[in-house]
Symmetry: C2
Subunit: 348 residues, 2 copies
C-alpha cells in the first residue's frame, strides 16, 4: 500500500462522503493513505474502511499538507473556506458542492461528456449537481450524433439530495402518514422560513428562489448543462420538484435535435452504445427506469424514449439514476480516475 496517492475525504461522515469512501474501496482506487476529515463535531469518531480503523480528523488548512487528491462534500461554506487552502498545498480538489461550479477557472466535469476539460484545471475541479449529471450523460451522445437545440426537463428528485436529516424527516412522516400531523423542519430548504411535509406530498421548490421565479436548483441544471456541454446558447429550462422517494432522481426530459429525419431507433441505438448508460425501454414488458430499482447502481438508466407526436425533431425520455452515486460520489471518483488516465495526476 506504500505505492499510491494520499487521498483526503472532507465530509467523511456525510451521506456522499460515505459513498465516496465505499467507492474508493470498491473500485480499487490506488490510495496509500486515506485522511478522513470532517467538522469539529465529528472529529475523533472511529470509522472502519476495508478492515482498517480510521479516526476522523477536523478539517483545517494544514490537513492538506502532502495530500494528492481531496474530495470535498461538506457543503459550500467548507469548500469556500478550505478548497483553495488544499490546492495551494498541492492537492487537486474534486469539489462536490456548488461553490466553484460556475467559476470560469474551474472545470465542471462529467468524464463521459467533457473529460478534456480536466486539462484546464487550476487545482480545483467541480463535480456538477446530481440532477444535471444524469441528464447530460444521456444528452451528450445524442448531441454528438444529431445535435441538440432545446431541452425541457421536469424532475422528480429524491430527499437524500437534501441530506441525512431530510431522509429522517421522510421516514418519520411516512410512518405517521395516516395521522397527518408531521412537523416539517427540513424541507424544502432547511434555512427557509416555511417547511412543508414531504410524505404524501410533492414540493415544487428545491433550494431558494431567484428573482426570475426559477429556483437555484433549476438555475444549476440550466447553467451547468450549458457549461459541461460547452453550449452557452442551448435553449434549456428546468422545473425541479422534490418527491417522497429516499434515493434516485427521475427526470422527464423533452429534447429537440438539430438534424432532420432522426428516428426513434437512431436515438435508442446511440444511447445503448453510450458509456455509463443502460437503456431500459421495453414498454411491452413494462421495462423502464424507476428509482426504487436504480438505488445502489452505478449507471444512468434511460427509457420511455418516444418521438414527439407533432415535432419532427422532438423526443421524450425518462432518465433515472442514484443521486448519491453517479449524481455525486461515483462521478467524483471517476473524475479522479480520469485525472490519472489523462496524466494530470502523476503516477506514484
Amino acid at each position: 500500500m506504500s505505492q499510491g496517492y494520499i487521498v483526503a475525504v472532507v465530509g467523511a461522515t456525510g451521506a456522499v462522503g460515505q459513498k465516496i469512501i465505499e467507492k474508493l474501496v470498491e473500485r480499487n482506487f490506488p490510495y496509500s493513505t486515506l485522511k478522513l476529515l470532517a467538522s469539529k463535531n465529528s472529529a475523533g469518531k472511529q470509522v472502519e474502511v476495508n478492515g482498517t480503523s480510521y479516526t476522523i480528523e477536523e478539517a483545517t488548512p494544514d490537513s492538506f499538507e502532502g495530500v494528492d487528491v481531496a474530495f470535498f462534500s461538506a457543503g459550500g461554506a467548507i469548500s469556500k473556506a478550505l478548497a483553495k487552502e488544499a490546492s495551494n498545498r498541492g492537492a487537486i480538489v474534486i469539489d462536490n458542492t456548488s461553490a466553484f461550479r460556475m467559476d470560469k477557472d474551474t472545470p465542471l466535469v462529467v468524464p463521459e461528456v467533457n473529460k478534456q476539460a480536466l486539462h484546464e484545471q487550476k487545482g480545483i475541479i467541480a463535480n456538477p449537481n446530481c440532477s444535471t449529471i444524469q441528464m447530460v450523460c444521456a444528452l451528450e451522445p445524442i448531441r454528438q450524433h444529431y445535435g441538440l437545440n432545446k431541452v425541457i426537463v421536469s424532475t422528480y428528485q429524491a430527499v437524500s439530495g437534501a441530506g441525512a436529516a431530510a431522509i429522517q424527516e421522510l421516514t418519520v412522516q411516512s410512518e405517521a402518514i395516516q395521522e397527518k400531523n408531521p412537523e416539517p423542519q427540513i424541507l424544502p430548504v432547511k434555512s427557509a422560513e416555511k417547511h412543508y411535509p414531504i410524505a404524501g406530498n410533492v414540493i415544487p421548490q428545491i433550494d431558494v428562489f431567484e428573482t426570475d421565479g426559477f429556483t437555484f436548483e433549476e438555475h444549476k441544471m440550466m447553467n451547468e448543462t450549458k457549461k459541461i456541454m460547452s453550449m452557452p446558447e442551448l435553449s434549456i429550462a428546468a422545473t425541479c420538484v422534490r418527491v417522497p422517494v429516499v434515493t434516485g432522481h427521475s427526470e422527464s426530459v423533452y429534447i429537440e435535435v438539430d438534424k432532420e429525419n432522426v428516428t426513434l431507433n437512431d436515438i435508442k441505438e446511440v444511447l445503448s452504445s453510450a458509456k455509463g448508460i443502460t437503456v431500459q425501454d421495453k414498454p411491452e414488458q413494462q421495462h423502464y427506469p424507476m428509482p426504487y430499482f436504480a438505488e445502489d447502481k452505478d449507471d444512468v438508466f434511460v427509457g420511455r424514449i418516444r418521438k414527439d407526436p407533432s415535432s419532427d425533431k422532438g423526443f421524450h425520455m425518462w432518465i433515472v439514476s442514484d443521486n448519491l452515486l453517479k449524481g455525486a460520489a461515483l462521478n467524483s471518483i471517476q473524475i479522479a480516475e480520469a485525472l490519472i488516465e489523462e496524466g494530470i495526476l502523476k503516477e506514484v
Copy 2:
C-alpha cells in the same frame, strides 16, 4: 323535496361516487329522489346521505326508468353496458369513465372551457380524465387571450386515481417502507403482468402502453385536450407518472402562446381572473400549489409561472388539483348544473 330531479349515481360505493354524493348535498343540487346504484356485490348496503338512509340497489337497465340525470363512475365496462340503456329511458348520462370520451357524438365537457358543447349532447356527456381537466382549466383562459401553440406536460399523479385498492397499497407500503418488502399487486395497472412498489418510488406508467410508446393515460391527455379545446392541430405531448401521494395530481406544464410580447404578468392576470382557478404564486413567500394542501379543495391551483429563458413565447407553470373533485366528482356535478343553466335539463 317533491320539486327536483330524479338523480341516479352508478358506482355509489366507489371513491368518486362517494364524492359525487357529497357534492350533490354540499352544492344543494336540486334533486327530489336519489337512486344509489352499484354492482350486485354492493347491493343491499345502507348509506346515509344528509340524514336520510338509502339502500344501494343493483344497477340494471330498469334502474333508470324515470331518472333525469345519471352519474356513472363504476368503470368503463359498466358505462358501456348501461349508459345507453339509461339514455334510452330518458336520462341524461354524465359519464366519468373513458368509455365515450372520444366518441364523436359525445360532448367531452369542462364547463369553464366548453359549456356550449352540451347543446350537442345526444343523451351521454363525458367527463374528461382527471389529469386533463385541471390542465385545460389553466390553458383555456391563456388560449382565449394569447393563443396556444404547444403544450408539453409531465404529471405527478396521485394513487387515488387508481382507486381505493391503490390507496390501500400505498398505505401498507408506507408503513413498511423501512423493511422494503412490499408485495405490489395493484400498481401500475391491476391487470398488467408486472406490479411495482409505489411507496418510495415513482412509476412512469399509468394505464397500458400503446404501440407508439405512449401510455393510454398519455393519449387520453393529448386527445381529450384537443377535443375539449376544439384544437385538433394542437402540438401536445404528455408524460404521465404515478407518485406516492394519496390525493392531488400535480403537473409541470410548458406552453408556447401564439401572440408575441406576452408578459409574465399578462399570463398571471388572465389566470387570476379565470373562474375555478386560484393562482398561488408568491415564490418569495414559498407560496405555490402542492397536493398536500389541495386535497378537498374545489379549485385548480396554478403557480410557479415563469417565462421560458430562451423562447419568447414560452411559459412554464405548475398545476395542482384534487383529482377526485375537479378531476372527477365536482366536474360531473358542474356539468349537471350547466345542463340546468343552459335549459337542456328542463326545470322541474
